[in-house]
């Protein structure tokens, strides 16, 4: 088979990776219900398809046919555009995640990521960080006090935890000497002792905590916090626009899990199998990513929600000093030649 033009390879890779992301997001909506049922000794959805596997499709069809409401007094333009602004950034951020190294398929050689940037970790943070606009604008434009309070909480929380998140990633960047996610993953490839989870355990802990806050998930889901705010920022939304907020949340969780896999678990590397073929690497990547996604669900159905002032205290008085100390300690240990 002749070499395909570069743009066609890009289009194919983009279609495959975005298709996979949306499928994972859909499956997560099912997994959330299945896992919660399992942890609460219930059965969970099992009517649509084998083991309820087609439930996300049924949900999608249902959302499509629901009536769409725009509340009186809402800003119609911002209200309509906000769900898309919430879902889009996470979908864009996945473009630089290196799922596997160089692959050869049907005579084509390419890398398994939509694109490779020299500043890809910065790109994920910059683009992923824009997701908050959807939540802020959605809540503000609804003209409802519950929505507004949800948005306010979301913006305060995400800005606060972004600092610690970036500082924890900076320690990893310092260890690898590059902002490129592929270089960061490859630097840990050789030996499991080189994985950043072993070299920078505190950074890993900080990253995982901030990851929950950044995606507005339990135990930090104050933006929606049902007992206090009805539904939080999406109280007034219905039909497909409501579903888009969830799609965005699941996509953001998936991207965060991918990022954690690349930064701390060496991407697709398999211990004691240094020259694994690309499909094994891809499988190992997906297993690690799924472990983080399961952690999200596990924590959600295990821990109670924080209180908002506790959240702020944790973010500014515990995590931020710890993250600064971690970066300083990592740099000092590197200068001393230990790391």
């Amino acid at each position: 088979m002749p070499e395909l033009p570069l743009w066609l390879v890009w289009v194919i890779k983009a279609a495959v990776i975005y298709g996979a992301l949306l499928s994972v997001a859909g499956l997560m909506s099912l997994a959330e219900r299945k896992v919660s049922a399992w942890m609460q000794y219930r059965i969970g959805p099992n009517r649509v398809g084998p083991f309820g596997l087609l439930q996300p499709l049924a949900d999608g069809v249902k959302f499509m046919f629901k009536e769409e409401l725009v509340p009186a007094g809402a800003n119609p333009f911002l209200f309509r555009i906000a769900p898309a602004l919430a879902a889009l950034p996470a979908m864009l951020a996945v473009a630089v995640i290196p799922f596997a190294g160089e692959i050869e398929l049907f005579g084509q050689r390419t890398t398994l990521s939509v694109t490779d940037l020299p500043i890809s970790s910065l790109y994920v943070l910059a683009v992923g960080g824009l997701g908050i606009y959807g939540i802020i604008l959605g809540g503000w434009s609804s003209n409802s006090k519950y929505s507004l309070l949800g948005s306010l909480r979301a913006s305060a929380q995400m800005v606060s935890y972004e600092l610690s998140l970036i500082l924890s990633i900076l320690a990893v960047v310092a260890l690898s000497g590059s902002l490129d996610l592929r270089v960061i993953a490859d630097a840990q490839q050789a030996d499991a002792a080189l994985w950043n989870i072993a070299r920078a355990p505190l950074a890993f802990l900080l990253f995982v905590v901030c990851m929950f806050a950044e995606t507005n998930r339990h135990p930090f889901d104050f933006a929606e916090s049902e007992p206090e705010l009805v539904g939080g920022f999406h109280t007034e939304y219905s039909a497909m626009r409501f579903a888009l907020f969830f799609l965005g949340e699941y996509c953001a969780m998936t991207v965060m899990s991918c990022l954690a896999t690349v930064l701390f678990l060496a991407g697709g590397a398999i211990p004691f199998w240094p020259d694994a073929p690309w499909w094994a690497e891809l499988a190992s990547f997906l297993v690690k990513m799924s472990a983080f996604l399961f952690l999200y669900l596990w924590v959600r159905w295990t821990l109670p929600r924080f209180r908002f002032d506790q959240l702020m205290r944790l973010g500014w008085k515990v995590l931020l000093p710890l993250a600064l100390f971690n970066l300083f300690a990592t740099a000092a240990l590197m200068a001393a030649g230990v790391l």
Binding site: P118, L122, A126, W140, N143, S151, V159, D309
Partner: protein
């Protein structure tokens, strides 16, 4: 192609910048500023400054504008709708300021257009190495420009502290207008803002 893109982005950036000062709603004003920042980041990207573009989006669009929006959401929305009912009044002093400002801007633009800024050896070296690498930026920032860099950060910190000191006043309502606000804080939007303010106080943010 690149030139067309540049002009389109530059025009869009100027359009957004005009939107910032002409929009009636503060929310639209902030969103216009966001648009201007994003256009600027794309211009950086077009020039090959990947790191700068990423940092621009991360810092300005991702963090600073979120704080702007945060403040706008706390504004008293009922008062703002009253402002919007009145046509904008342009006073004489504003006209003078506008004319003077425009003349100064045109002068600077003419000055910039009339002369070419010569490339220094360091610039040429950086151009040759490309802007994707962080090393030249880091070396320049932490050696040659260390003092201005630290001075700028100190200035920003001092400004922040000064603003906090100036803004921290007595809590009790003082003028008759503020007292009236405190009494009839039952309107929809107004209730929202004061609820939100109360919650923030609870969270120790104010």
């Amino acid at each position: 192609m690149a030139e067309t893109l540049f002009y389109a982005l530059a025009l869009a950036a100027v359009g957004f910048a005009v939107g910032v000062i002409s929009a009636r709603s503060p929310m639209l004003s902030v969103l216009s500023l966001l648009g201007a920042f994003v256009c600027l980041a794309l211009v950086y990207l077009l020039a090959g400054f990947q790191f700068l573009a990423g940092a621009q989006v991360l810092v300005y669009a991702g963090a600073i504008m979120v704080l702007f929006l945060f403040v706008v959401m706390l504004l008293n929305l009922a008062d703002l709708s009253k402002v919007a009912e009145h046509p904008t009044r342009v006073l004489g002093v504003h006209r003078v300021a506008l004319a003077g400002g425009s003349a100064a801007l045109l002068g600077v633009l003419a000055l910039l257009a009339s002369r070419r800024i010569p490339d220094t050896a360091a610039d040429t070296a950086m151009l040759a190495r490309g802007f994707d690498e962080l090393e030249p930026i880091a070396v320049a920032l932490f050696s040659r420009y260390l003092l201005p860099f630290e001075a700028a950060s100190l200035l920003l910190l001092a400004t922040m502290v000064a603003v906090l000191v100036l803004a921290k006043r007595a809590r009790a309502p003082q003028g008759p207008r503020e007292q009236a606000q405190a009494v009839d804080a039952h309107g929809d939007a107004r209730g929202d803002a004061s609820d939100a303010a109360r919650e923030l106080e609870g969270a120790g943010l104010r």
